[in-house]
């Protein structure tokens, strides 16, 4: 337990800093209200709007845990939204539309996983292909238009609904986080992922099925990305092939890295990635809540600083340089 805590100490400190900043300058950030039977407040907003990134970060944690990366998740979101919207336009039942979208995500995951495991293409290149082509596929499905979904459709509950006062996207995220935590820790999947990312050759020698595990991880990632795409589409009641999930793959990777999982793979922490994603979303919500005094785009600049600081904190080279100068000054 102590090692888990040590792993989470930096992301937790960063989140605390951010929340402390809000507490000092923007106390209403912590207010909760019940409005029309719906819980609201800045913290709820963070989780609600952050649900897609949170879902992506969950899957990305596993992918990065195996030493891989998936650049195509933003494009998969667009495809999933397009599939659902197209199915609904053809008057498919909502459940079928959702299933079709999730199936498309799974197929995309299998495609990525096969390129990585069967063709032996490095993950960054393998998933780049779908990152390029995926939006084209999404546009093909929507015929290049923004497909509107009828605003009274039950489908939109995914993005806007409320159950027992809690927005549905948050519930979907919680269910996924819980389910995935159970999946990786109550089965041996987590052990295998960490073993493969930690030392692939040793894992092979120990009889771990490296290929199928890798494939499964990309498949899970695809399904989670599709779920994120569904939330996004239902939220705006439309499938926007151009902008759904744009650059979200980078946010998801960032969340994982901020959360303390190394890009090289091995030990991963789902909780850390969740904290990382919350940090990213809190940043933008904080800036938004300051209204006109702070432009929204400042978010990007702060994100740049966060990436650099996190990278430098994890850089053993910096640690080496620092200890050397410190010793010399002694």
């Amino acid at each position: 337990m102590s090692s888990t805590l040590r792993q989470l100490i930096w992301p937790l400190a960063a989140l605390a800093l951010l929340l402390g900043f809000n507490a000092a300058f923007h106390p209403s950030f912590f207010h909760f209200q019940i409005h029309d039977g719906r819980l609201s407040g800045s913290i709820i907003d963070v989780l609600n709007q952050g649900a897609p990134v949170l879902l992506l970060a969950l899957g990305m944690t596993l992918v990065i845990g195996t030493g891989g990366i998936d650049l195509s998740v933003g494009a998969i979101m667009a495809v999933a939204g397009a599939v659902a919207a197209a199915a609904l336009r053809e008057h498919a039942p909502v459940a079928l539309a959702i299933a079709a979208a999730l199936g498309a995500g799974a197929a995309a995951g299998v495609w990525n996983g096969s390129l990585v495991t069967l063709a032996g293409i490095p993950p960054i290149i393998a998933t780049l292909i779908l990152m390029v082509a995926g939006r084209g596929v999404a546009q093909l499905i929507t015929h290049g238009e923004t497909l509107l979904i009828k605003s009274d459709s039950a489908f939109n509950v995914i993005g806007r609904g409320v159950i027992l006062g809690v927005p549905v996207p948050i519930l979907i995220f919680l269910a996924a986080a819980l389910g995935l935590s159970i999946l990786v820790r109550l089965t041996a999947l987590g052990l295998f992922i960490e073993a493969i990312g930690g030392n692939e050759q040793a894992s092979r020698y120990a009889g771990v099925r490296v290929g199928p595990i890798r494939l499964a991880v990309y498949l899970l990632m695809g399904v989670l990305a599709a779920a994120a795409g569904l939330i996004d589409a239902a939220d705006i009641a439309a499938a926007d092939a151009n902008n759904s999930g744009l650059y979200l793959e980078l946010d998801a990777i960032l969340a994982v890295v901020i959360g303390g999982t190394a890009l090289t793979g091995g030990r991963f922490t789902l909780l850390g990635s969740i904290i990382g994603a919350i940090i990213i979303q809190t940043l933008s919500t904080t800036i938004l809540s300051f209204g006109r005094n702070m432009p929204v785009e400042l978010n990007l600049v702060i994100k740049a600083a966060v990436v650099l600081v996190v990278c430098l904190l994890q850089s053993s080279e910096l640690r080496r340089l620092l200890t050397r100068t410190w010793r010399r000054s002694q």
Binding site: T187, A188, L191, A195, A202, S203, Y205, G207, I213
Partner: protein, 506 residues
């Protein structure tokens, strides 16, 4: 007499917990080929790394033609005239042969651009001056390893190298290529260069070198003129203790009954460029020792048996079941286990805990869905930690932080948990302290007594002789002898390793 080309005096190098070099002297003259030999951990590579500036010494002096030198990087050493050619050629495979020779010193035109034609011409001259006739405009990666090494030599020579270190250059060359390289080495010797030659092929040591320095356990145990040192004497210097002294067998464990069930049977097993063909039989309740120098094909054989490498031919029967398509998973399913030679690369997942590393193979065989519960895991891991007396503060400690001996025991625990019928141990006692070593040896004894079939590899002949009932001697990637009963003497094994049986003598 003029100063020697290189003189190293009283070199000491200590790593945390290990004294890698303990006052080593080494002298290289102009115009000689000087072989540096020794088994793993003898200190060869540390000595060379110090000479070439890749590592700093703790004590001692290095003199180049009488004046002290202190290279801090390989580049500085090169400027002083000390160049190294590694087994893994340290050149740029995607650039042309000419560029690899001239990189950093390319002839340039008046306005600073590289004069490619002049560069190719110059490289051509250098290469053909060394008897190397290749198209210098082709990319280096399209050349054979032998040519790549000769290109590296050409680069060194063109940089005015006076001393040339060849670090196991021949390990991946065939006989013809080796001869080509040796012709080049002789030519350079004729030009007055001093050449340090590191290899584990004894034939080649005698073929090319004028003098031989033997290292063992971080000390220099002798420098001899090659013609005056019989092979057997060389082998016993390398492997330690005079052969006679070690000839007594401690463990007189009896023969294995020929009726004991056959666990493993290999016929004509081979892999291109690695090992064989060879025949092996392994019975329940016996330890079969593999003896041979580094590179003799010991590890390659167990890797074939375990399905890590794909065999080029031959048959393999495990527990009376023929194995067609082999893989580690199939080997494990058939009741086999392998503790690999390179613990760090192929054995451990360093950042995972002791418990997780112990459970990895067991869980791998159960599959992902049937995870063993936390309590059972802890109980099993704790049981083996205790049984093998693995010293770790707790089961959750990352295994990378344990000592070498404890790491090895973690790998053994991983496999013993599987209750394998066949255990392959590749150098299980290398680089671990003496206490852990004895524990592992007696563990092997106990397991054998319980009916396990074991293949035991060690660079230390006494150990192989102590532990095994039967010994297969490997030389040049082939099994050259099988010793049983009273023949299991260190002396006899050495004779076979040195290739001195049947009256053949150097």
């Amino acid at each position: 007499m003029s100063d020697p080309l290189i003189e190293m005096r009283g070199i000491v190098k200590t790593y945390p917990g290990v004294r890698a070099l303990d006052g080593v002297d080494f002298t290289l003259h102009h115009g000689e080929v000087h072989a540096l030999v020794g088994e793993n951990g003898a200190g060869k590579s540390t000595l060379i790394r110090i000479l070439t500036g890749a590592e700093r010494r703790d004590a001692g002096r290095v003199l180049l033609e009488g004046s002290p030198i202190e290279p801090h990087t390989p580049v500085q050493a090169q400027r002083l005239g000390i160049a190294t050619v590694y087994q893994e050629v340290n050149l740029v495979p995607d650039l042309s042969v000419a560029e690899n020779i001239m990189l950093g010193r390319e002839p340039r035109k008046a306005w600073g651009a590289i004069d490619r034609r002049a560069m190719d011409r110059r490289a051509e001259q250098v290469a053909s001056g060394l008897g190397l006739h290749v198209d210098v405009t082709q990319p280096l990666r399209s050349c054979s390893i032998a040519v790549q090494q000769m290109v590296a030599v050409a680069r060194a020579v063109d940089q005015k190298a006076r001393a040339l270190v060849l670090d196991e250059p021949t390990s991946s060359l065939d006989a013809g290529e080796t001869e080509q390289l040796f012709a080049l080495v002789r030519r350079l010797r004729g030009q007055g260069l001093g050449i340090v030659f590191i290899t584990h092929f004894l034939e080649q040591v005698y073929e090319i070198s004028d003098r031989i320095t033997i290292l063992r356990g971080g000390r220099c145990v002798g420098t001899h003129v090659a013609d005056d040192l019989p092979r057997l004497a060389l082998v016993s210097l390398m492997l330690g203790k005079a052969a006679e002294a070690a000839a007594t067998r401690e463990r007189g464990a009896g023969e294995v009954a020929p009726t004991a069930p056959r666990r493993l049977e290999a016929r004509g097993l081979w892999r291109r460029g690695a090992v064989g063909p060879l025949d092996l039989t392994l019975r329940a309740g016996e330890v079969l020792g593999f003896a041979g120098l580094l590179g003799s094909g010991r590890s390659e054989t167990v890797r074939l048996l375990f399905g890590v490498d794909v065999r080029s031919g031959g048959s393999l029967v495990i527990n009376n079941r023929p194995i067609a398509r082999h893989s580690p998973r199939r080997a494990i399913a058939a009741g086999m286990a392998l503790a690999p030679e390179d613990r760090r690369a192929a054995g451990l997942v360093p950042e995972l805990s002791v418990r997780e590393n112990i459970m990895l193979a067991f869980q791998g065989a159960r599959g992902w869905a049937r995870r063993l519960g936390g309590r059972e895991q802890n109980a099993l891991a704790a049981k083996f930690v205790q049984a093998l007396s693995i010293s770790t503060p707790d089961l959750e400690k990352p295994v990378g932080q344990l000592s070498g001996g404890n790491q090895q025991k973690v790998i053994l625990a991983r496999w013993l948990l599987m209750e394998p019928g066949i255990l392959l141990l590749d150098e299980p006692t290398r680089g671990i302290d003496i206490g852990a070593k004895q524990q592992i040896e007696s563990l092997v004894d106990d397991l054998r007594a319980k009916g396990m079939a074991i293949i035991f590899i060690s660079g230390e002949l006494e150990e192989v002789v102590r532990v095994s009932q039967r010994i297969v001697v490997l030389r040049d990637r082939r099994a050259v002898a099988e010793l049983t009963g009273a023949d299991r003497h260190v002396h006899t094994v050495m004779q076979h390793i040195a290739g001195e049986t049947g009256g053949k003598h150097v």
